[in-house]
Subunit: 195 residues, 2 copies
DNA sequence: CTTCCATCTGACCGATCGGTCAGGGTCTGA
DNA sequence: TCAGACCCTGACCGATCGGTCAGATGGAAG
């Protein structure tokens, strides 16, 4: 019988993800994580420089996708920006349900950490795009409600398959977003378009 | 000059509300609250049995309103339930911005405390009503997104006056909620077509 | 003045937190 | 056989947490 290489690093990461989503970052101690993995707290700190680094590595993939979405958004305006923002964020939220659920609620404090330095600005731009770059309160409010609500929903509906959740959220987003006056500049043509 | 009676009890309550909204319940220590009030930590614990009791007293008014909304909802179905739920929750969220902001994010852990024993059930019923008591995933998801998003928005847009915020949120809620078969008082624009 | 009570405080407690450190196994390649 | 890299651990550290307690203060009542 092939004894699998004990991937302690990965196990710690997975255990941390599970616990952070339930108890939150603050509410989860390194001891808790170590207990679930079945190792000592010192082992956790052997694999990760500190608690913050553990969180950072956990979030890295999601953050990378968020960053690329931010790049896609540059230059877009009005309805085009809204559509790309909605589609991109729903996709991201569904794909990284667990990671999003961790950030939820502890957003403001976690953002102080250097690893998440630019997330605040990025999510502000995302929210702005979702509002069609309008400064009307109604549009701004709708954009915030959507971003926060979608984040929450992804953590909650773990039982619903990805495709169904994505479709429902996207439909909801399109219906909820304040329509901007400006017509779509030109329907997404051969520009770099997602699948 | 009449030296005002130092309402330490109230000052502690107010300071706690401010800090909880910023740093969260877990993230705020009794020391922090005492420092802002300008008294000792022991004084805080003289006025409140413990940290949990402080939170409970802070939340009491909001919880009372939530409970009465829950009563209004009993027996209502379909579009009527949706409208009452939307209107009632938006009103509650706007009126108790600060309190709602405290619960946001630390919901699951805080609900374990006996003072908030029935809140989970109440908010579940509220969500169910907002979904028009439909069991379609789309409706359930929309209801959750709205409840979570509205809670978040109220904490965020402290600069927007109550009336404006209430109107914007209610408009958003009516537009976002999945329409149930029963006729609506305010029929949505016919350009929206759903299955 | 004495008594009483509400208010407030500094000192202290045990528990737990994130994090450090010296050292013990185990495997591998020279 | 032995050196060294890698993985892991128990013991320990200072800081901070929520909470306790004996006592100081000060005003009102007798």
């Amino acid at each position: 019988m092939v004894r699998a290489v004990p991937d302690t690093h990965g196990e710690i990461l997975a255990a941390a993800a599970r616990q952070f989503t339930v108890t939150g970052y603050r509410g989860t101690s390194l001891q808790d994580i170590a207990r679930e993995v079945g190792c000592s707290k010192a082992t956790v700190l052997y694999h990760f420089a500190n608690k913050e680094a553990l969180l950072a590595e956990l979030m890295a993939p999601a953050i990378e996708v968020l960053r690329s979405l931010d790049e896609q958004l540059t230059g877009l305006t009005g309805a085009a920006a809204q559509e790309v923002a909605a589609q991109g964020f729903v996709d991201l939220a569904v794909r990284f349900r667990q990671e999003i659920a961790v950030l939820r609620g502890e957003f403001p404090e976690l953002l102080c950490q250097p690893a998440f330095a630019h997330i605040q600005e990025i999510s502000d731009r995302l929210r702005d795009a979702l509002a069609g770059h309008s400064d009307r309160p109604g549009a701004r409010i709708a954009a915030l409600v959507l971003l926060a609500g979608i984040s929450e929903a992804c953590g909650e509906f773990a039982d619903i398959p990805d495709d169904e959740l994505r479709l429902a959220l996207l439909t909801l987003a399109r219906r909820a977003v304040e329509p901007v006056d400006a017509p779509l500049p030109h329907p997404p043509t051969t520009e770099d378009k997602d699948s």
